[in-house]
């Protein structure tokens, strides 16, 4: 093992001294993340709309008006569906929450809601911030509706007349109570008739609370918190590509410069040589991921939702690209041929895998094709740990695929390399 570490240390030292190679491994990915993160952030007018499912259980004119108003708000991306569908949409992670306008909404909507508001929110517990934001939007909308009604003198007098009549015929009131209430509504009516709309502003009115319930999510497709959440995993991909290309070239370099002859004549096996190269590549990949994530986290607020998942994603991605590095090294016998063929292959891998255009905005045929690219799974696993909020079991799919590709490509590359060197 000491000889493998010595071999790896030598390769890391050579990479460190190759300033041009180091640029592609570490600096270019960083520039990529910052550049594209900034560009898209500047183009955006604010946070993305919250996707919700709307359920109207009251089915009255008032409830329909309320639902209609919500569905046209720019802060919300709302779909009107049935309750079961809404619940499933939250479970599947297709929307952040559902909003149910319950029966009785209309009957209670004329005045300030006392106690519980007949509106219910169901949300994924991991998306508390979006749920809280949604509550705020609902309160504001309900209050605006109430304020609108109360600011209309005609509607207000009609309602007060209706209530005065209701008080007069109420059987559960004493004569004294009845007289007091009728006088109150009559007085109020006179005030409304005499006042203008502006003086009826209900700015300080208080309201009840909206019920919030949680719905456990099955799988997620959460949204990134900022464009840096997308650009940094992409930049990691470029770092991995830089490492794979750099170390693939170093294998060819050793062959063409003759240092490989010295290594092969030393009392070490080919396994040692390849393990040393693989270890150096792995350490570089992990180092680049740590560097980019630290930079993203400390400077650009990229928030890692699960550190353990990120560690697993980083290790699996690094392992996968070590295998790809081995496979690239046998694409030719000269540095020029491997550099040309290697970068071509890596560009296709990156393009399909979301290294240039994020997978989430790809056309569907390209999304399907992207399953073939290890880059897609690397980005997917990193996003899973950063903003998709994957559970450990959800992480297993991309990690398993990455490790599988790594084992296959390293074995195939090592086999062909051994035959080439025989």
């Amino acid at each position: 093992m000491r000889k493998v570490i010595t071999l790896a240390a030598k390769d890391l030292l050579l990479l460190w001294r190759d300033k041009f190679g180091l640029f592609w491994v570490a600096v270019f990915p960083l520039l990529f993340a910052v550049f594209f993160g900034s560009i898209f952030s500047m183009g955006s007018k604010g946070p993305s709309a919250i996707s919700i499912a709307l359920v109207d259980q009251d089915s009255t004119q008032e409830s329909q008006a309320f639902v209609e108003k919500l569905s046209t708000m720019k802060e919300l991306d709302a779909k009107i569906v049935g309750f079961e569908d809404a619940k499933n949409m939250v479970r599947k992670g297709r929307v952040a929450a559902y909003v149910v306008v319950e029966e009785g909404y209309s009957a209670n909507s004329d005045f300030i809601f006392a106690g519980e508001v007949p509106i219910k929110i169901g949300s994924d517990p991991s998306r508390k911030a979006e749920s809280a934001y949604l509550q705020g939007i609902l309160m504001k909308t309900m209050y605006e509706g109430f304020q609108e009604r109360m600011s209309n003198p005609v509607k207000m007098t009609e309602k007060l007349d209706e209530m005065t009549e209701s008080m007069k015929s109420a059987v559960d009131l004493t004569d004294g109570q009845r007289k007091t209430l009728v006088d109150l509504f009559s007085g109020l009516r006179d005030f409304v008739v005499a006042a203008d709309a502006e003086s009826l502003d209900m700015a300080d009115a208080g309201m009840g609370e909206i019920k919030v319930e949680t719905v456990e999510r099955e799988t997620t497709s959460a949204r990134p918190r900022s464009y840096y959440d997308i650009s940094f995993p992409q930049s990691v991909l470029w770092g991995l590509i830089g490492c794979a290309a750099s170390f693939a070239l170093s294998i060819v370099y050793e062959r063409s410069r003759g240092t490989l002859i010295r290594l092969r004549l030393a009392p070490i096996s080919r396994v040692h040589i390849l393990a040393g190269k693989g270890l150096a590549c792995f350490i570089s990949c992990v180092g680049v991921i740590i560097l980019l994530m630290l930079f993203g986290g400390l400077i650009f607020g990229v928030n890692i939702s699960n550190t353990l998942n990120l560690a697993l994603a980083a290790a699996a991605s690094a392992f996968c690209f070590v295998g790809i590095m081995m496979l690239l090294s046998i694409l030719g016998k000269t540095e020029r041929s491997v550099a040309g063929a290697g970068w071509s292959v890596l560009m296709i891998i990156a393009m399909l895998g979301g290294g240039m255009v994020p997978a989430m905005v790809m056309p569907s045929w390209m999304k399907t094709l992207s399953h073939l690219s290890p880059a897609k799974w690397a980005v997917y696993s990193l996003e899973g740990a950063i903003w998709r909020g994957y559970t450990l079991s959800e992480m297993m799919q991309p990690i398993g695929i990455l490790v599988g590709i790594g084992i296959l490509s390293f074995s195939l590359g090592a086999f062909i390399w051994s035959r080439m060197e025989a």
């Binding site: 000889k3 030598k10 002859i261 009392p267 070490i268």
Partner: protein, 296 residues
């Protein structure tokens, strides 16, 4: 020490080595002399196990497998190409290769210091190799093969493209190795190097050994006669006593022993204003064996 039996190797139908057999004794410096493309490097690569022969056998220290790690510990190879890491210093290169051979700690440090001294690179030990002259790189290439103190040294054209000063340093190093009793296989297409350094030489061309013997015996067998040509200050009194052609003051003598003959002429009172002695050498041996010059 090293026995090679009927080695054959071809690449894509082109025969590179065609049935070479030889034996190198312990503490011997053995030369493989031949033009570029003669099959020298292919032969040494099969001897050290880098290439698998199509047929034939290599036996080193009694074992038939040069890929055996224990055998490899005893072999140091200085390849024809500069097999060093140019982005590492001489010291870093030597430390790295030393570690590959299991050296560590004080022993490694001592060996590295010795190798740097041997190569005349002590003052430049920390500079990156890419900044060295061609000769310095060659010297580093040589000592990298010697860092683990092997008993067998394979030197494949170690002086290609070096300046005379570095060449002399390399020769002195190899002669020091000879004195220490190392076994050396030395490939070259410079006959002066083979004559100076090698106890025995195999003349190789087109993958075949044309002859194998000591330098003296090869010259004796295939070198032909040496020639003394000169101008006398005055014509000889008795031209018939001169064992060659005399025309006025010009003399041309063919002989097997040119130096002895020249001494005898001086003894007879002949005084030369100028003289040239064309001594038979390995170049002549190669010319006589193949009809071509070594560097054709």
């Amino acid at each position: 020490m090293i026995r090679v039996e009927n080695l054959r190797k071809s690449f894509n139908g082109t025969v590179a080595v065609d049935g070479i057999s030889l034996e190198v004794n312990a503490s011997e410096t053995f030369g493989l002399l031949g033009p570029n493309g003669a099959g020298k490097t292919t032969t040494v690569n099969m001897i050290i196990g880098l290439l698998k022969p199509d047929s034939g056998k290599v036996v080193i220290n009694g074992t038939g497998d040069p890929t055996n790690p224990q055998i490899r510990l005893d072999i140091g190879n200085c390849p024809q190409s500069l097999s060093i890491y140019e982005d590492m210093s001489a010291e870093e290169n030597l430390r790295f290769f030393g570690k590959m051979y299991g050296l560590k700690g004080m022993e490694l440090s001592k060996k590295v210091d010795w190798a740097l001294e041997f190569a005349g690179l002590t003052d430049r030990r920390s500079d990156l190799s890419r900044d060295y002259s061609g000769g310095m790189k060659r010297r580093l290439n040589l000592v990298a093969a010697m860092i683990h103190d092997p008993t067998v040294l394979i030197l494949d054209e170690p002086t290609v493209g070096v300046d005379p000063q570095s060449r002399n340093l390399i020769f002195e190093g190899i002669e020091a190795m000879k004195r220490e009793g190392k076994t050396v296989i030395y490939t070259t297409h410079y006959m002066e190097e083979a004559e100076r350094l090698c106890d025995r030489v195999a003349i190789i061309d087109h993958g075949v050994i044309l002859d194998l013997d000591t330098v003296e015996s090869l010259i004796e067998k295939h070198g032909g006669v040496s020639v003394i040509e000169g101008d006398l200050i005055s014509p000889p009194d008795n031209p018939e006593t001169v064992p060659g052609m005399v025309e006025g003051t010009k003399v041309r003598i063919e002989t097997d022993r040119p130096m002895e003959e020249f001494a005898a002429l001086s003894g007879k009172g002949l005084k030369f204003s100028s003289v040239r002695i064309d001594k038979a050498d390995l170049e002549a041996v190669f010319l006589n064996l193949t009809g071509r010059r070594l560097r054709d």
